[in-house]
Amino acid sequence: MKDSKANRVPSWNLAKEVMSRGARIYPLEDLNTLYECVQCGTCVGSCPSGRRTALRIRSMIRGIQMGYREEVLDTNDLWSCTTCYTCQERCPRDVRVTEIVKIVRNIAFEEGRAKERHLVVANNFIKTGHTIPLNEEGKKTRVKLGLSPVPPTSLLFPEALAEIQEIMRTDGFYNKVIRDKK
């Protein structure tokens, strides 16, 4: 159930969830800057995506602080950030805004909230080791320019592809993508 603005209850739960999850990658002291946000608005004023979408990065940070989980996770705005880091660079409180956006997206992805279009990219990656396929036109251009028709990546070495597929089965990424497909 979506939490309507009228009956939402503030809590630190979402912030703690973001911290514990993000700390597997980023230093916890960096992530703790989330609590330092005073809603000055430097971020939202710098955001090139906010000029043309409904993304209001300041509100998103506030939503995470207040624990408005559904409001933060179940919105298209979460996926409108190009991760340009302008907000993070300019934040006078040094909040790791962009990194926090990525961690929140990780939570959303795990819960099957990613877009179908994103899953196409994830599936390409799982199947080939690349985000986009190699097409005939690409091969032709490569040969014309004196390059090998297939680059020496996982596209040329099936054992390399098998390696990353094994990693993705072990670390759970494979299941997240396949489960999300349903």
């Binding site: 980023y26 994103h118 690409g138 759970g172």
Partner: protein, 298 residues
């Protein structure tokens, strides 16, 4: 002879082989040896795959780093996205505990990453290994009169704490390179704004991504430029292919041709436009006629 492990990524080898050809040719002129990273994969893409699962992003990044480590070489690459992932992963993996967690997974495929592999963008190789004096000595064809819109992209410079190339607010390295080849870097409105492609926006919200691109191109056109120059393969795709998409949607009439930095440099070094893949971009290289360039002596 300086040697690097050459990380290809996805967009350069699969969609813009011209950039790969240009980079190999230019590096060869400077006697920088690029060795293949056999069996490398996507970096993985920081904004899209990193947004899905950062732990998977880190372990696949570590696997790519381990290939260079086996070669005993540092990495160079051409895409700000690949740079974002691999440079950041290398910094994160300096931490012993995180590296241990990643190695527990890599062990299953008989790999390990010891840490310490440096990741350098070709911009850094040109700046630090080659240097402006050598660059100048290789310029045989001054691109006088060429008006350039320099587009820096986001992830070579940001986050500045990790990248450590100084402030991201007023970078100059690209403008300097444009001047070095005899061309003019033209100021334009909102020069440092993102191309729109990153963060999974091109894949998830293509119209939003194109809206960024349109605004940038309109600002560039208003300043009167002949071409766009970028140090990022993904920005290159977004401007080159993106403008064609915008034209097909009836939102843009005149497209501005795009050059990757090594294509610009290669042109000024006398390499032929065909070999540099300038005709393989979606937007034709109209600037060549203006410059009176028909071929090359190399």
């Amino acid at each position: 002879m300086k040697k690097y492990a050459f990380f290809l990524g996805c967009i350069m080898p699969l969609r813009y082989p011209g950039i790969e050809a240009a980079t190999r040719l230019v590096m060869n002129e400077f006697q920088i040896d690029l060795l293949e990273m056999n069996g490398a994969t996507c970096c993985p893409a920081p904004g899209v795959l990193g947004s899905f699962d950062l732990e998977n992003w880190l372990v696949i990044g570590a696997r790519n780093l381990s290939i260079a480590e086996q070669l005993g070489l540092d990495i160079t690459l051409t895409c700000n996205g690949c740079y974002a992932s691999l440079q950041e992963a290398s910094v994160i993996l300096n931490d012993k505990e995180r590296r241990g967690r990643v190695n527990a997974l890599l062990e299953k495929v008989k790999r390990s990453y010891g840490g310490g592999t440096q990741v350098k963008h070709v911009v850094e190789v040109l700046d630090k290994d080659v240097g402006s004096e050598t660059l100048k000595n290789h310029i045989t064809r001054q691109l006088k009169g060429l008006r350039v819109a320099a587009h820096y992209g986001c992830h070579y410079l940001k986050p500045t704490k990790i990248r450590a190339h100084g402030s991201s607010e007023r970078p100059v390295f690209l403008d300097d390179l444009v001047s070095l080849v005899g061309a003019e870097s033209v100021p334009y409105k909102d020069k440092n704004i993102c191309c729109g492609a990153g963060g999974g926006v091109r894949s998830g919200e293509p119209l939003v991504a194109l809206d960024f691109t349109l605004e940038k191109v309109q600002n560039m056109t208003a300043a009167g430029v002949d071409c766009i120059v970028t140090p990022c393969v993904f920005c290159h795709l977004q401007f080159d292919l993106g403008q064609t998409e915008l034209r097909d949607k009836g939102r843009l009439k005149e497209r501005v041709p795009v050059l990757y930095i090594t294509q610009l440099l290669g042109l000024a070094m006398g390499l032929s436009p065909e070999k540099l893949g300038l005709y393989d971009n979606s937007v034709p290289p109209a600037y060549l006629e203006r410059l009176g360039i028909t071929g090359g002596n190399k």
